[in-house]
């Protein structure tokens, strides 16, 4: 990490997996972009200050990004403690999470399939298809208020299914 070029190289080769990792957590582009940016700032500061060489950049960056996220969401008590950057062994920082993600996907999909049709429909229309409450109301032939109540109950049920799985 000696010069601008290698920093650019690092960012160019890692931003996409890092962004996807963060997006997975926050599920919106605005926040994912912000946290990606900030992660590089923090990580580069650390790398340069300590003049260290990191082989598994992406693992290290993901760990830093989790810190940034926790910092921002200020929920360290509930979500676990902040990882001390100084204490991370970059070589060992977690890299593999695709298996976890895929297991999570399966669980959510199974839980979704277990819902009664009306619940599943409202969740699919609102979250997966991205329709507004008004559009969903029209499609489902319901009042907008009813859609809000329905989606709340559907998500309550879904959360319960997922909770029991854990």
């Amino acid at each position: 990490m000696q010069d601008e070029k290698s920093i650019e190289e690092l960012c160019t080769s890692t931003w996409e997996p890092l962004y996807r990792f963060i997006y997975y957590k926050v599920q919106n582009r605005q926040e994912a972009e912000d946290i990606t940016q900030e992660t590089y700032m923090k990580a580069l500061t650390y790398i340069q200050k300590n003049n260290i060489k990191i082989d598994k950049h992406i693992g290290f960056l993901k760990t830093v990004s989790l810190n940034v996220l926790r910092d921002k969401w200020r929920k360290s008590k509930r979500h676990g403690k902040i990882v001390d950057i100084e204490a991370i062994n970059p070589e060992e920082a977690a890299v593999e999470d695709s298996a976890e993600v895929s297991a999570q996907h399966d669980a959510v999909q199974t839980a979704l399939n277990s819902l009664k049709e009306e619940y599943r429909t409202v969740v699919e229309l609102r979250i997966l298809q991205g329709y507004s409450v008004a559009e969903t109301a029209k499609i489902m032939n319901k009042q907008e208020g009813a859609v809000r109540v329905l989606q709340y109950r559907a998500l309550q049920k879904l959360a319960a299914v997922l909770r029991n799985r854990d």
Binding site: E4, T12, R163
Partner: protein
């Protein structure tokens, strides 16, 4: 309905809009709602993430690299402050363009015409300044201008383009040179429209301070253009338009260009842009085009039947028809309704086999090869016969042959618009190459690429070195020649340039066929790895062995 139901619904709306929900970072959320929000995120994670725009990776990289540089001197001990400043600076660059740039775009849209005095100062490495020139300029939105050199080596020279013709009054020789109005490769330095356009297209703009220029308050921007060195631009706080520009020190020279005075007007005074031969001056007409009134006249001058576009695409009007007298090329000039863009349709007798420029993207019109250039990098055949187009950065072209004639549609407008004209002449849509058309077959041998080296090569080409790297055929020729003479090439290349043939070129990927019996390879596969526009270099990524 409970408050939580509304909150959860708003939360879903936020995520659907790809915006940060206000609950992210909020402390006082009930555990129940929090769990439901987490469930929403889990469901949404089944979808592919919404990715940032294509420039995001580059912006992150540049911002990060820049930070490192600027931090050096004051980082230690001020990490927290530094981080805050960095994040601030970043938020400026992330959008790629900031509010000042937007305000400038808006302000320029309001401008009809302007009149100003420009001073150009040259500074050498020792810091010595010299006034290189002063000029008076008038310019309007339709592209007409009047530029008079007030001071400097070309004092007294006046250059005028009124959209119909272009001429230059040269007081030293007492001559008036007349040129065709389009294409006009001349752009006076610091023309506001060009300047605004450059900033809009810049990779990055950053506010770096505030200063006074010619007694006016101005914001100083640092602009990183697409290719080329960074420069500084001073924007008038009141008019929101550029006042001053300073290039980077290049080859030990730096230029500072300032509007010492500028007024915004409704139009250029008619008398300034009306053609009149001053007394005692001789007219030198370099324009060999003869205007004709209709197709019949065009036919009698050109000596062949002229094909006109079946219909004029919407938004355009026929401006004039002319015949280039030497080459017998018929030209239809069209302008769009607000006279900002010109399209020329050219027709001439085909002078032989169609040879597209090696740098061009290849498409098809009625099953014939069509050459697409944006901008025109090489003008061959009808393009060279019809005026000097190459090197004029905003002009694109489509050229093809059909039925013994060669046609070209040329214009300072979008390729799509040129395509509309093609359709009206050829009676068929132009088939544009796409990545999907590239054969699925991979090269027999893949050539490993070192992206680091390619990046440096790109920088070197950006700086004007090895321009041949922009030509896929030349790159293929060097590659094939080195395969034949791995120890190095002395004298001529063992594989001749002419023996290479562009089989496909999508502008991003190309396949070049080697028609040479002694060549050990038959096909060379190239890609633009670093930048995918016409300034991007070609790199060999694979080849097929000769049978």
């Amino acid at each position: 309905m409970s408050n939580n139901e509304n909150k959860l619904s708003d939360y879903i709306d936020s995520l659907n809009a790809e915006k940060k929900p206000k609950e992210h970072g909020q402390e006082d959320i009930s555990p129940e709602l929090e769990e439901l929000m987490k469930t929403v995120r889990q469901v949404k994670s089944l979808k592919e993430p919404a990715m940032p725009d294509s420039g995001f990776g580059r912006r992150v990289a540049q911002a990060a690299a820049k930070n490192k540089k600027s931090r050096k001197s004051w980082f230690v001990g001020f990490a927290a402050v530094a981080a805050a400043v960095m994040i601030f600076a970043l938020s400026f660059t992330i959008a790629g363009r900031n509010n000042i740039v937007y305000a400038m775009e808006q302000a320029f849209q309001e401008v009809k015409a302007y009149h100003g005095y420009i001073e150009i100062i040259q500074t050498n490495a020792a810091g010595d300044e010299a006034v290189q020139g002063k000029r008076e300029v008038w310019a309007d939105k339709s592209g007409s201008y009047y530029v008079k050199e007030v001071e400097g080596t070309q004092e007294g020279l006046v250059t005028i383009n009124n959209g119909q013709s272009k001429w230059q009054i040269q007081p030293d020789s007492k001559e008036v040179h007349v040129f065709s109005a389009f294409p006009d490769p001349y752009r006076f330095t610091f023309e506001l429209g060009e300047e605004v356009e450059d900033v809009k297209n810049a990779v990055e703009t950053k506010k770096i301070g505030e200063e006074q220029v010619a007694g006016r308050e101005a914001v100083v921007l640092e602009v990183s253009p697409q290719g080329g060195e960074k420069y500084k631009l001073w924007i008038d706080k009141e008019t929101k338009l550029p006042l001053k520009k300073q290039s980077a020190m290049q080859n030990a020279l730096q230029y500072t260009i300032t509007y010492t005075h500028i007024d915004f007007e409704s139009a250029i005074p008619a008398e300034l842009i009306a053609y009149k031969l001053p007394e005692g001056f001789k007219e030198v007409n370099t324009n060999k085009e003869q205007l004709v009134n209709n197709l019949e006249e065009a036919k009698s001058v050109a000596g062949y039947s002229v094909k006109a576009p079946a219909e004029i695409p919407e938004g355009y009007l026929l401006d004039s028809i002319a015949v280039e007298l030497d080459a017998k090329i018929v030209k239809f000039y069209y302008t769009d309704t607000d006279k900002q863009n010109t399209v020329v349709v050219l027709q001439g007798k085909a002078a032989g086999e169609f040879k597209p420029s090696t740098k061009a993207v290849l498409g098809k019109i009625n099953d014939s090869i069509a050459e697409l250039q944006s901008p025109i990098a090489a003008d061959s055949e009808i393009l060279s016969g019809g005026g000097l187009y190459a090197g004029v950065t905003d002009i694109s072209s489509i050229r093809w042959q059909e039925g013994g004639f060669e046609y070209a549609v040329v214009g300072n407008t979008a390729m799509d618009d040129l395509g509309l004209f093609v359709k009206e002449i050829a009676g068929a849509e132009i088939e544009l190459p796409s990545q999907a058309d590239m054969p699925a077959a991979k090269p027999q041998v893949e050539v490993p690429v070192d992206l680091e080296i390619e990046k440096n090569e790109q920088k070197s080409v950006d700086a004007g070195h090895s321009p041949w790297k922009l030509d896929p055929v030349f790159v293929a020729q060097v590659f094939a020649s080195l395969k034949l003479s791995p120890e190095g090439i002395t004298g001529d290349y063992p594989i001749a340039y002419e023996s290479l043939e562009v089989e496909q070129n999508t502008g991003v990927e190309a396949i070049i066929k080697v028609n040479d019996d002694k060549s050990p390879i038959s096909k060379i596969y190239l890609k633009k790895l670093i930048r995918q526009d016409n300034t991007g270099i070609w790199t060999v990524v694979g080849y097929d062995n000769a049978q």
